[in-house]
């Protein structure tokens, strides 16, 4: 491995090098404060809608749209209890169902997409370019156009009103997005590592398992985060495949509060929307930590 030996040392800012150590430290300190200030400022803008949602979830329905400010003039925490108990099914059922679907999808995507990506990134085989193009092509047709034909397939398999149409395809690597993502990551892992392992007599699966997978951890974590969130938020497929209310997931459960023809419970909807964010937020917080560790701990040694 050759490292970069950067061009000319003279390019370094001279005043920086001459600075005494103490001054340097305080400089980075103020720089740190500056970064924090910028980050906090932008974060507030980013978070405003969430705060609005949170505040709306605590307002009576008559106030949400007539007084859209952030501070409620009267609190109505009942939105939460009413939304949670719902009409018949507790909202906990929808969250449980969502978690089943979501976790199944995550496992499926991580396994199947990494296998396919490894093949595309590291092997030459007949028609590879065509297969790769086909794989990308599956990304390009809008979902709405294939919904009906897909529905008939699952209908014939008698999988309607089960979680299977939402989980099984993930084990068959239908999310080309993640294959492509992982291909790009694998391609930035130096081949020398494969070669060294091969010299030690490892077969391709062992290379995949022992070298590629650990090294592409950031990509796997990314896949986990996205699959989790996208599956959790996916309305259209869950709407079509889950028929009965006891199979409903969070996005479907949320529609139960809104009906422009017979009156809506906006407060309860906002309350449950806020609560429903927690699983995805927790998932993100847990896994983004792994992103920090990334290569720093797993290192280049494999």
């Amino acid at each position: 491995m050759s490292a970069i030996t950067p061009t000319r040392p003279s390019k370094a800012p001279p005043h920086n090098a001459k600075r005494p150590l103490r001054k340097l430290r305080s400089a980075t300190g103020s720089r740190r404060i500056f970064i924090h200030t910028v980050l906090v400022g932008v974060a507030i803008v980013m978070l405003y809608p969430l705060l609005w949602m949170l505040s709306s979830s605590l307002k009576p329905d008559t106030e949400i749209f007539t007084q859209p400010g952030l501070i409620p003039s009267s609190l109505r925490p009942e939105n939460y209890s009413e939304g949670w108990s719902g009409s018949g099914n507790s909202f906990s059922l929808y969250i449980t169902n969502s978690l089943i679907v979501t976790i199944g999808a995550v496992i499926g995507n991580v396994i199947s997409c990494s296998l396919a990506a490894y093949a595309f990134a590291r092997f030459e085989f007949r028609g590879k370019k065509i297969w790769f193009g086909l794989m990308l092509g599956t990304l390009m047709l809008p979902t709405q156009a294939v919904l009906i034909p897909q529905y008939t397939i699952f209908y014939n398999l008698t999988w309607i009103n089960t979680f299977l149409p939402l989980i099984v395809p993930k084990f068959l690597a239908v999310d080309a997005f993640f294959i492509f993502l992982m291909v790009q990551f694998i391609r930035s892992i130096p081949r020398e590592l494969d070669q060294a392992a091969m010299m030690d007599g490892a077969n391709p699966f062992q290379i995949y398992w022992k070298i590629i997978l650990p090294l592409m951890k950031p990509a796997l974590i990314t896949t986990t985060i996205f699959t989790f969130i996208w599956t959790y938020d996916d309305f259209l497929h869950q709407l079509v495949y889950l028929q009965q209310n006891d199979k409903f997931t969070v996005p479907l459960g949320l529609t139960l509060f809104l009906d422009q023809t017979s009156g809506s419970s906006y407060g309860a909807m906002f309350a449950m929307s806020t609560l429903a964010l927690l699983p995805t937020l927790i998932c993100f917080l847990i896994f983004q930590k792994r992103l920090v560790e990334g290569l720093a701990t797993s290192g280049m040694k494999g």
């Binding site: 061009t7 390019k11 974060a43 397939i153 930035s188 950031p218 990509a219 990314t222 809104l258």
Partner: protein
């Protein structure tokens, strides 16, 4: 590890590889090429994907291609009409052109902005700072919300006539307007929503940054390279595979954007079709107006356009994307 294509590293690399290393490496390459070329290994790895492709993906795609040549209302059998749908689209459907216009504007403006912001914030967040996890979560939160109804309601509050955005403009003495419901500005509120939800490419950039080899930076730090040089000479070249991925996928995604347009305009694409993004129009045709044949034709035209853009992207990538293998 090499950064062969970056100016800084090219000369050094040649110098650091001895002739015997080179021979050994060539031998290895040949052996590897044999392994790479043949055997059943790649097919074994691809087996699940093949099953999914042939079992679940190809058939619905071909079926929608077939339907694009039919009149199909979902409720009664499809009837073959030849190229009528395609003909109608280009010759007598003004809304089709409205949607093309809206979509192109959306793609051209939102993709570069979103990617630049995502990369910028990813660089900012790629450090060991106290509470960095919370910052990341804050920046990712808008993307967590996705296309929820709640987000649409919030957006309409912020950019409505007496919304927060106009209050903000008011501080500077600028008179606002209702940005969401004016046909001249509505699409920009949608673009802003897309840019604001930059979490996906940001996380991918972050993951890419994390995968960059540390030793390169350590060497650079010792030699006192300025941050700007470091970014353009080291980070960006190393990151090009990931940049490329984001560019390709964001373009595809932007062309296919559905949910934000749907929830913000309540499915109408209004005002005056100014936010009638292509996929929304397709959905309206297929599921609201029950013209699934026409909708399928729309889908395949979009498919061809996206495929064209992607092909150009791949060809262009030869000139600026650097792989390590």
């Amino acid at each position: 590890m090499t950064v062969a294509k970056s100016d800084a590293g090219a000369g050094e690399q040649a110098a650091s590889v001895t002739p015997s290393d080179q021979r050994e490496r060539d031998r290895m390459r040949r052996r590897l090429a044999r392994r790479r070329g043949g055997g059943w290994w790649p097919y074994a790895f691809l087996a699940p994907w093949f099953i999914g492709l042939f079992g679940l993906t190809i058939y619905p795609m071909l079926d929608s291609l077939y339907l694009s040549f039919t009149d199909f209302d979902l409720l009664t059998p499809a009837q073959w009409v030849g190229v009528d749908n395609y003909d109608k689209m280009f010759t007598e459907d003004p809304v089709f052109w409205d949607s093309v216009h809206a979509t192109l504007l959306y793609v051209v403006v939102s993709v570069p902005l979103k990617l630049a912001l995502a990369l910028g914030v990813a660089m900012l967040l790629n450090r060991d700072l106290r509470g960095i996890g919370l910052y990341r979560a804050a920046f990712y939160l808008p993307s967590l919300l996705g296309g929820a109804v709640a987000i649409a309601i919030v957006w309409r509050q912020v950019f409505g006539g007496d919304g927060l955005f106009n209050d903000f403009l008011g501080w500077f003495g600028i008179a606002g307007q209702d940005w969401i419901s004016s046909p001249d500005t509505a699409i920009y509120t949608l673009i802003l929503l897309a840019v604001w939800q930059f979490g996906t490419p940001m996380v991918i950039f972050l993951a890419g940054l994390k995968q960059l080899p540390k030793d390169v930076y350590e060497a650079a730090a010792i030699d006192g390279v300025t941050p700007v040089t470091r970014f353009f000479r080291i980070t960006l070249p190393l990151l090009t595979p990931i940049v490329f991925f984001n560019v390709v996928l964001q373009i595809i995604d932007a062309f296919k954007t559905f949910t934000p347009a749907f929830v913000i305009s309540n499915g109408s694409g209004g005002p005056l079709n100014s936010t009638m993004l292509y996929s929304l129009y397709l959905y309206k045709k297929g599921f609201t107006d029950l013209q699934m044949g026409y909708a399928s034709a729309l889908a395949w035209v979009l498919f061809l356009v996206i495929a064209g853009f992607t092909a150009v992207n791949f060809i262009a990538s030869r000139y600026w994307v650097h792989y390590d293998d």
